[in-house]
Symmetry: C2
Subunit: 348 residues, 2 copies
């Protein structure tokens, strides 16, 4: 049986992080926010009526688009809703890249870009980040990508490049620059204003991390109205559902609650980073809700396994520049303390 | 600005039916079920916890897969969950068709197939249905599609071809046969058993119509485990959310409630069809929850406009074999009576 396209037959598919069902596991492996979503979200879900379920939802998700327009100071026609950031990425890959249209991104980064390019049978070029994860602007520009992806903050490094560097890249590119800001809520700055300043910049966000809604699947992109209109042609007709639209709009509008969560995560991140350094497990400076830390005293894969045996899950990636490190989600103070205690024990 | 792939630049995008916000509109244009979803669905949604929202959902939606396996007498590994039937269609198009892999379907049918093929830049061949919407088996087989789509019941005709005819087609095809059973809950028979009998048959279902959950976005496909495993590589990692998985599983498990709704729709369909015939507006026999009716006394487009002015929405399609007809969703008895009264008045 060889029904599938050759590129699909040959590929493995993206492997998401483990989702244990045991509630006692300290889960620091998939970068969820450790705090619950805003109470406004639960209220919005409770208010969903049978009639909203029975009817097709708003195909454009305007209730959410208006919330995003208000929060980011843009217009409704600059916002595209997606069934998670994955859907947004998927739409852009299909609209902009292909066998004749190169997709470019700096590495190491979010491995889903490679998977989506593969599914699309797209021409693709990976460009190495600088030694300290500096943006390789000249090398990226030289590739003439029809679309260039930049995760900023980057995953799994947690590092960030400056707005000026991103703007400079956008200015030099002929194609579209997609700035994946999945983790930006935990950073000191963001590139949202570039979505208004450049007609080739798309800023992509998710409610999974900053708004504690990984279970809901809601992402969005902000860009020039022409860019959004073209992407609309590729999205599924009703790609976001009635419950999600209401819940996501409620979450985004409750900026006060979200900002409190972000501040707590940032504080814990710095505390955890200092404590890890004290355990000979230095981490890169991070602007995200995770740390990429290198245990100096034992191979990272072994530490991953030993932690897992103690019901503490972190993420290990077996690929270049990262395979000697662990990506650790910043948890609650209590979770982080459990991790630190286990590491202290393992280090001996 | 020419950022998009040429196939995307050139296309218009799928235009979904109008979704009026005025609750007084008699909405018979997008084939929603006129009855509310099962009370079990609302209970499932109310039971969603903050923790389920905070964490990533089950990537495979196993709670729903188990419900589908139980209802259809198949195994869990034969079920693929989707963010609406659109997502299922989208996944199959991307996995199976392309510039080198032909996508085939009989027409007139659901116009989204053409749109998705276009987005994929796929080779595509449309084969005409017979004069009374008979399955054009020989012509379909002669095209050697890598994937062949068959809406059964078909939209917008509402007509159905027999299980034996579908099995015969599956036997003769080398590629995959996707049987789009979006409307099958209102039919007297279905092709689900072919998903177990043939390794190249995928039976696709939605909860939008039969389960009154258009607003929730949930569809699924049933097929050979190898077929499902290949499609899994192409789906987004977390393509269905925690709320939808719980709600869809609850809806599917409440077969008693669903069957009562289907019976009411079927009864109303036959009553409406007889009444339309009496108004010189004969409709094809339908196994779905809509009728394709031809007003003998006035152009269909004009009748559509005149009904709309009376706040009654039906669907008009401006394409061959259909442009002299209106597609009318079967509503509640009260809604159907309003439609009939308006038509009686218009006919004069």
């Amino acid at each position: 049986m060889a029904f599938f396209r050759p590129n699909i037959e040959a590929m493995d598919g993206y492997v998401p992080g483990e989702q244990p069902t045991d509630p006692n596991v300290v889960k620091l492996n998939t970068n969820e926010n450790p705090y619950p979503p805003s109470p406004r979200v639960l209220e919005a879900i409770a208010a969903v009526t049978p009639e909203q379920l029975r009817r097709y939802p708003d195909p454009l998700g305007n209730a959410f688009r208006d919330a995003a327009a208000s929060v980011h100071g843009v217009t409704r026609d600059m916002v595209l809703c997606g069934n998670g950031m994955d859907d947004i990425l998927n739409i852009t890959v299909r609209a902009l890249s292909g066998p004749e249209a190169k997709l470019v991104y700096p590495v190491p980064t979010y491995t889903l870009y490679a998977v989506l390019a593969n599914i699309q049978a797209s021409m693709v070029k990976e460009v190495p980040f600088g030694p300290n994860f500096e943006l390789p602007t000249d090398a990226l520009v030289a590739e003439h990508g029809r679309v260039t992806y930049l995760a900023n903050p980057n995953a799994p490094s947690g590092t960030t490049v400056s707005i000026d560097a991103v703007a400079d890249l956008a200015r030099q590119l002929n194609g579209v620059l997609c700035v994946d800001e999945a983790y930006v809520d935990f950073a000191d700055s963001n590139c949202m204003r570039l979505a208004s300043e450049f007609e080739n910049v798309l800023v992509m966000r998710t409610l999974s991390k900053g708004y504690s809604l990984a279970g809901l699947r809601f992402g969005y992109a902000v860009g020039h109205p022409n860019l959004i209109a073209g992407l609309m042609k590729v999205k599924d007709s009703y790609n976001v559902d009635a419950v999600s639209i209401a819940a996501a709009a409620a979450a985004l509008r409750d900026q006060d609650y979200a900002r409190q969560c972000w501040a707590k995560v940032r504080d814990e991140r710095e505390r955890l980073r200092a404590a890890l350094a004290g355990l000979d497990m230095p981490a890169l400076p991070s602007q995200s809700n995770f740390l990429l830390a290198r245990p100096a005293w034992r191979p990272a894969r072994e530490v991953y396994e030993l932690l897992k045996a103690r019901r503490i899950l972190v993420r290990y990636f077996d690929y270049p520049r990262v395979s000697d490190r662990l990506r650790i989600t910043v948890g609650t103070r209590e979770q982080n303390d459990k991790l630190l205690a286990a590491l202290r024990e393992l280090r001996g």
